[in-house]
């Protein structure tokens, strides 16, 4: 590694500063993300109902990408 840029270092600082006593991992997030997506599409504040999922999605880029893609797909396919 030759370079660590500003964004990477800020990400690092956030990752350390935001660590919680309780966080869920990718498996637990995956387990619940379909419900999270449906709550979101129903306008029912999924972050309030499933706060640990919301926090994981804010933090984990892989899970967030998959969540966003799932949201697009379910929204497009609703009613079909």
């Amino acid at each position: 590694m030759e370079r660590i840029d500003q964004d990477a270092m800020y990400k690092m600082v956030r990752a350390i500063a935001d660590v919680r006593n309780r966080e869920i991992g990718c498996d637990d997030c995956f387990e619940q993300v379909d419900r999270f997506v449906e709550l979101e599409l129903a306008g029912e504040s999924p972050g309030d109902v499933l706060p640990l999922v919301k926090e994981h999605l804010d933090r984990c880029q892989n899970c967030r990408e998959e969540y966003e893609a799932l949201l697009v797909a379910v929204k497009a396919m609703s009613g079909k």
Partner: protein, 208 residues
């Protein structure tokens, strides 16, 4: 496609009408995955999507007994198809990138991160930020296990996907998340002992 309740899906996918139900689900997932991958422009995407859905269907049918009904069955199935597709696409995208290139060879190497040379904050901010970056990197090098250190450099500082780093480290994404979580906790406690609070760390970097 025929409208089905979750119960009807479960019965149809496992009953005498399963061929039709599987064909319906396949068609649904292929269309949905097309939307899900809208931003991914690759050659032969149609063929890839069919392959992803085929692989996903095997997982779906193998795991029907784990479906708890917390969502529509089609949403649950689409989630599995999305996971399969993104996993494969990431694997292809990152297969030639080694995590080693993001990890300094020796702990405690005295290198100057680009952040210290690229940015032009005021001299006073520079001093605080400079000090903080050095302390954090020193902690990463000296207080974490070798695996934690490697994971932090590759995922957080290098920006590689967790999935790919996990595969190269011979583990899985969930276990890697836990490894990094423990490292983040250690670093936070260690930095607190140095008198660096999370609030101070964030404030120093916020406007950078």
């Amino acid at each position: 496609m025929e409208e089905r309740t979750n119960q009807e899906w479960l019965e149809d996918l496992q009953g005498p009408h399963k061929d039709q139900a599987i064909a319906d689900l396949r068609e649904f997932l292929i269309e949905g995955l097309g939307y899900a991958l809208g931003n991914h422009h690759r050659e032969n995407m149609d063929v890839l999507i069919e392959d992803f859905v085929q692989e996903a269907l095997i997982k779906i049918l193998d795991n029907l007994d784990t479906f708890r009904g917390d969502s529509k069955l089609t949403t649950w199935a689409q989630k599995i198809a999305v996971r399969v597709a993104f996993s494969e696409l990431r694997r292809k995208r990152w297969e030639d990138v080694s995590i080693e290139q993001f990890v300094p060879e020796e702990s405690g190497v005295d290198f100057t991160p680009a952040i210290l040379t690229d940015t032009k904050p005021t001299p006073e901010e520079m001093t605080t930020r400079d000090r903080m970056v050095r302390i954090i990197l020193q902690k990463v090098d000296q207080e974490l296990t070798e695996r934690q250190r490697k994971a932090i450099y590759a995922v957080i500082l290098g920006g590689m996907p967790m999935q790919e780093v996990a595969e190269q480290m011979g583990t899985n994404r969930n276990a890697l998340y836990k490894l990094i979580y423990d490292a983040r906790k250690n670093l936070k406690e260690s930095l607190l002992r140095e008198g660096l609070t999370p609030e101070e760390m964030l404030a120093t970097f916020k406007d950078g």
